[in-house]
Amino acid sequence: MKILICVKQVPEITDVRINPETGTLIREGVASILNPFCEYAIEVGLDLRRHYGDIEVVTISMGPPQAKAALMRCLEMGADRAILLSDSKFAGSDTWATALTLAEAIRTTESDFDLILVGKQAIDGDTAQVGPELAEILGIPQVMYGVGIELTRNKKRIRVKREMEKGYETVEIRLPGLVSVSKGPMIRSVSSFEEILDARKKELRVVTASDLIMDEDELGLAGSPTQVVKIFPPRVKKGGELIDGSEAQGAAQKLVEFLKEKNFV
């Protein structure tokens, strides 16, 4: 059985700050990390391998050459091998062009996959679109917001527990299929020194545009139906009154008055 896990390298968003004078992102010192939801997807994939054995875990990413670091992290966590789609012709891809390029790469080199795992969303773009778009292009069913996966006895189907607006539901699909992961199995382990050394011996292959059967106008910006026309800082709301609440009785009193004034009590 073969599981493909699509991952993305993202900036550590919590470190991103805005320069109040210019309104631009301050990116100095902002580290690049493996998107946390992608990390959950890797954990779910490795957990399946641990449970059922005989599963190859292959991780794929599209990005600039430095995205290799995110794939190295996947290999250190335990993935068997990695593929990086990297070419200046891919630059400017929106979610559609990204999904199409990933789909072509998968068709070209990994068409015998059984399951694709993706993170629920990436913390930089937050679109959550590439997963379903990839599933549609490959013509396979999808289950979003998964928190746990079980294989059926003959390994032809999976049962996915997924988050819903009112709780959870368990959905069964026949493989091949795609699952987006919103939570890991909560057994995160720190990679050992051996695993880190081991990761360097694993295969990390770079695929470029010339390896794929795609027209130039399907790639990157030319192949992207959406275009960013403007980037600007969000409107910042002005903070209201700030009071000292070290004396609890007085603070509670102030809150009651405020709630009354606004007609909430």
């Binding site: 937050d126 607006e165 709301k237």
Partner: protein
């Protein structure tokens, strides 16, 4: 690709500062583009010399002009025995009405469901010119396969210029599937929509966890598709004198087309309990509440105000509350009249999920907590000491 006109470039480094990705480097007094350029376009308008441009593909206007009309997906939810439009549909109707008026086109709602569909006339009262009812026994419960098929067929037949979905759990599963099937652009989770001078829909959305806003257009594909964040847009009162039509659309579906089978359901919230997305008053807890037992105070305060309890991602990860009550970028966007944030520091990912609340109160020990920047009233203090007194006072008053 990003083209730098070396004759105009003065090496002023403004573009270097504007680039969110650090992909422009100025040396030898000229800007140079690096491999990690994503062609986001942030630099182009910043150049005082107009030395930067991006090459883009063109499609003939007459092809695009064949598409007309603003469509929205009228997502429904079960209420007792009926299937009625969700609150987000009213928000979409108010935005869709604006767009339709600016384009001088009709506003249509596509509603998918089974025989339990009800209250469709309210869609007209909230601004629709047409309601297209797609009724089939296999549409009673949402499945990506059935809904993608029906909406794709509807789009192919009706050829709208705009199609909007609520960025709800189902909307975010469905819209990319439809977009991919029809090879269309799609913008996720928009918080602003407008029409520009060329008649294109300008879709504005937060990126980088809400640190920056991006405006996006899909100039060469129709319909222009977007998902719209719930609880951001307001809507007015219904106008029951508005005229509109309810039409039926013939649906052809076979059970074999649905590849997912629901084999188990675990309900965390029963039907009477209000979703935090629809709540008027929310008391929300963060890591600053220190331990799970302290959430009883939050619950009690919420109950005494007639509101709901919610929380930040941090306490969902700690398993203190279920994901159904998570506010923020990776949870739900709420828009209550009153939001009380207790022990929540206010990371930007949390703030984007609640900043459209009408009144915000924050209680936090840290006077520098960013949550105070969005709060109408901020209290620097220990909530665990303040809340018991507050609850008692409210009870005495009540």
């Amino acid at each position: 690709m990003l083209i730098i006109n070396t004759e105009n470039c003065t090496g002023c480094k403004i573009c270097e500062k504007m680039c969110p990705f650090g992909a422009i480097v100025v040396f030898d007094k000229i800007a140079h583009v690096q491999d990690n350029c994503t062609l986001c376009g942030a630099c182009v308008n910043s150049c005082p010399e107009g030395a930067l441009s991006i090459e883009r593909r063109r499609v003939p206007q007459e092809e695009l002009d064949r598409y007309s009309g603003v469509f929205i997906w009228g997502e429904c939810e079960e209420k007792g025995e009926r299937l009625i439009p969700k609150k987000v549909v009213k928000e979409l109707l108010s935005q869709g009405r604006n767009l339709a008026n600016k384009l001088n086109q009709d506003l249509t709602v596509a509603v998918l469901g089974d025989g339990r569909l009800a209250e469709l006339e309210t869609l007209i009262a909230y601004g629709a010119d047409r309601v297209i009812r797609c009724q089939h026994r296999l549409l009673g419960h949402f499945t990506t396969d059935s809904f993608t098929t029906v909406i794709s067929v509807l789009i192919s037949k009706e050829k709208p210029s705009v199609f909007l979905f609520g960025a709800t759990a189902h909307g975010r599963e469905l819209a990319p599937r439809v977009a991919a099937r029809l090879h269309l652009g799609l913008t996720a989770d928009c918080t602003g929509l407008d029409i520009n001078e060329k008649g294109h829909m300008v879709q504005t959305r937060p990126a980088f966890g809400g640190n920056i806003m991006a405006s996006i257009v899909s100039p060469y594909t129709r319909p222009q598709m977007a998902t719209v964040r719930p609880n951001v847009f307001s809507f007015g009162d219904p106008d029951n004198s508005r005229k509109g039509e309810i039409e039926d659309f013939e649906v052809v579906l076979s059970p074999a087309a649905i590849r997912t089978k629901v084999v188990g359901i675990e309900q965390l919230r029963d039907e009477r309990e209000v979703s935090i997305e629809d709540a008027d008053i929310i008391v929300s807890a963060g890591r600053g509440c220190q331990k799970k037992e302290n959430l009883d105070l939050i619950r009690e305060l919420a109950a005494s105000l007639g509101g709901e309890m919610a929380g930040s991602r941090a306490i969902v990860e700690l398993d203190w509350i279920p994901h159904t009550k998570q506010v923020g970028q990776s949870g739900l966007t709420v828009g209550p009249q009153l939001y009380i944030a207790v022990g929540i520091s206010g990371a930007v990912q949390h703030v984007v999920g609640m900043s459209s609340a009408k009144t915000i109160i924050a209680i936090n020990k840290d006077p520098d907590a960013p949550i105070f920047k969005v709060a109408d009233l901020g209290i620097v203090g220990d909530a665990m000491e303040i809340l018991p007194i507050l609850i008692r006072e409210l009870k005495n008053k009540g």
